[in-house]
């Protein structure tokens, strides 16, 4: 059995999400190759070749793949997929964009955001915002799978020496073009890979008050997140959102401030190792999942916490 892992990368380096997907592929026990599609992506390819247990790194280096346009990359993956039993990708926004196109081109189902491999054809995945875990069995000979990255610890990044093979195939569907991007610039770690996350909810009352989280985040080296309620209220941008329809995080420490704990939010953070909740409502559902709950007015508790860290 053979598995192709689709690399998530920024051309110069490999994103940790790729290593989470490799870890899931290793559970399946197949031979693993990695596909790096990008432009000037030699750095990412070299990083992929250093992942232990990888046989080959296939590199498609062309301007057509520069911005991971799904119309182009899906054609490439569907072609390369011919030689593999499993196509596995991390459930990042790029791969969520591309992989269903691949599955449709191959006329197979996609199994989205698996959290567990039960056997070669059977997987577990959360449905209904994580209220229910479904076990699904695939009858497809070729399986297209995305992996919820928080369900798998990253595979080691160093120590391997896979061969690197260049792919000549250039697929430019000519249907779409990259115009631009606005990447949130921050000195803080990325939400999905941070060891500590501190999130604010509706209890923060407005966007200005999110500054109360800054000092604590700086002291802890934490990323700042938010509940959907805070995003919907316009306190912070959508890329802060932790939850079923936002980002799924599982840091060592998650501090929920002024967050009631709607199921949609819990789905995005309940796999964190340690959860702290600060809320003035002692009946808030967030306390049912918190390891340490502090019933307090956040406007008093946050400055005190910052001072005492």
């Amino acid at each position: 059995m053979s598995t192709l892992v689709i690399a998530e990368h920024d051309n110069s380096s490999l994103k940790t999400a790729t290593l989470n997907a490799v870890a899931a592929a290793q559970v399946m026990g197949a031979d693993i190759d990695i596909l790096v599609a990008g432009a000037d992506c030699g750095g990412a390819a070299a990083a992929a070749a250093a992942v232990p247990g990888v046989g080959k790194v296939l590199v498609a280096d062309n301007a057509a793949y520069a911005h991971q346009l799904a119309e182009n990359v899906s054609l490439l993956i569907a072609e390369v997929a011919a030689g593999y039993d499993n196509i596995i990708a991390p459930a990042t926004s790029n791969c969520k964009n591309t992989m269903p196109r691949v599955a449709a081109l191959l006329d197979v189902a996609q199994i989205s955001e698996i959290t567990s491999v039960v056997s070669a054809d059977t997987f577990q995945r959360p449905i209904y915002a994580g209220n229910v875990i479904a076990t699904v069995q695939s009858t497809d000979a070729k399986k297209v799978i995305t992996v919820r990255t928080t369900a798998y610890d990253a595979a080691p990044a160093e120590g391997g020496s896979a061969t690197i093979e260049a792919l000549d195939a250039v697929h430019d569907a000519g249907l779409s073009a990259f115009v631009g991007e606005e990447v949130a610039v921050s000195d803080r770690p990325e939400l999905t890979s941070a060891k500590i996350v501190i999130s604010g909810g509706r209890g923060m009352q407005n966007g200005e008050n999110f500054k109360l989280l800054d000092g604590i985040a700086d002291k802890l080296g934490a990323a700042i997140g938010a509940s959907r309620a805070a995003v919907d209220a316009g306190f912070v941008p959508n890329d802060y959102q932790v939850g079923q329809t936002g980002k799924i995080v599982a840091p060592d420490l998650y501090i929920a401030v002024g967050i009631s704990g709607a199921i949609q939010h819990l789905a995005g953070m309940k796999d964190s190792k340690v959860i702290v909740a600060i809320n003035k409502d002692e009946d808030a559902p967030i306390f049912q999942v918190a390891d340490y709950g502090l019933v307090a007015d956040l406007f008093n508790a946050l400055p005190e916490l910052e001072a005492k860290l």
Partner: protein, 249 residues
Amino acid sequence: MKVLVAVKRVVDYNVKVRAKADGSDVDLNNVKMAINPFCEIAVEEAVRLKEAGIATEVIAVSVGAKACQEQIRTALALGADRGIQVETEGAVEPLVVAKLLKAIVDKEQPQLVILGKQSIDGDNNQTGQMLGALANMPQGTFASEIVVDGDKLNVTREVDGGLQTVSLNLPAIVTTDLRLNEPRYASLPNIMKAKKKQLDVYSPADLGVSVTSHLTQVKVEPPAERKAGIKVADVDQLVDKLKNEAKVI
């Protein structure tokens, strides 16, 4: 331009869904059903395009049992012009839904198809992209803004770490994210008017699509429960616990 918008009947987002005791499926007896929230955003965007004079006709399509006509009527009450139901039984996988929608696209030749990015039941996030591949159309997924610019469509997308803008040739597919718009409420007169709007029903056989499943749901179960911890008295105790007991800071 003609705009096709897909809507799905799902459990209302306020309902806390549970697995049946025998683990065969989720218990959907007597629960409130509604239009999928992302689909509602899709309908709203299509109607706004019509109000802006860009869309000439908005067609709402749903794949499902007869009951999904209720959600099509909701879309019609929100401003869609006519409806199409593709009548299916039981659960239908995203790939099959995409094939059925592809057949409707061939029939109606829309310039734009708007779908929700995912449904809040299966949480698959697949159908729009699959339709894109089958119809050989470009896609702007997880859209937070769309702008029609001649024969192109500019889509701003919510991606990891920020926003990305792409330019798509028309016809194109858009899947909606939360911030694309805030859907309106249907007014009573519009709900009444919606009852008289045209609603055509097709079977998968009419469309030449075979409904085969590639996946079997073996069982469903509740997620592992996380045990509630302790309440700390004050910030001092919290910091102490995090340092000395949990050892995470």
